[in-house]
Point group: C2
Chain length 153, copies 2
Amino acid sequence: MTIDTAEQGLVSALVQAQIAASQDEVPVGAIVVRSGLVVGVGYNRREQLNNPVAHAEILAIQDAASNLSSWRLIDCILYCTLEPCPMCLAACQQARVKEVIFGAMDTKGGALSLGYRLNEDFRTHHRFEAKYLETPSCSQILKEFFEKKRHTK
Amino acid sequence: MTIDTAEQGLVSALVQAQIAASQDEVPVGAIVVRSGLVVGVGYNRREQLNNPVAHAEILAIQDAASNLSSWRLIDCILYCTLEPCPMCLAACQQARVKEVIFGAMDTKGGALSLGYRLNEDFRTHHRFEAKYLETPSCSQILKEFFEKKRHTK
């Protein structure tokens, strides 16, 4: 299956988020795509790996770099269900991704929402676009996860 | 050996940077200390691991989280030879470190130097101090590394 549209990219990232939810992790998913092919995938695994950096985006970037045998993810698009936090947006910059597209805003923790527009900083070594493409299923899965958590408590 | 002073912490981080240099990686090192004990170490391994996030700080954080079996590095101090980039400073925030102390400024790529003072952002879930403690050996090792690179070319 190739990823030909941004919508398809976000649907594939959402599949990763669903895996996270099934493992009782905050459901955020990400994929890395090059020339329409998925070259890396990741879902949030912070709790199960006891790893503070095991966000979906970081794991997808590492997976892609491993698969491509290069830390430079040239011409790669990262799709993620949630707006990246500053760590993850900066990781996209470190990895030289071409573009980031996310399906839900994170007004409290998202890098862009907080004003850390690293991707546009002309002083840095790499700039790229980070776009919000509103995708209700990406926010819905988070809403349902936290509602369920509250009911379980 | 316990780490009783910030100077000792930076010397130990520098040992990590020396390992990086010996492996032809940009020499940056980091350690994580809790109650005077080194609980995590890391040196820059971006090239050898083909991993864009394999900075010294990220690896030290992951090592500490693994050793402590917790992603929350409560009461931990991260010592690093170079001012953390935005990704690494944000990772320290994700990991809830108590403090970051670095031995050399990175005026072009350091998070604080670029004005990304995440660690002081009152809107975020965790705040911590990030201090510069001038340590000439931490900048010297980088200078020598790049001078050697230029001569080899």
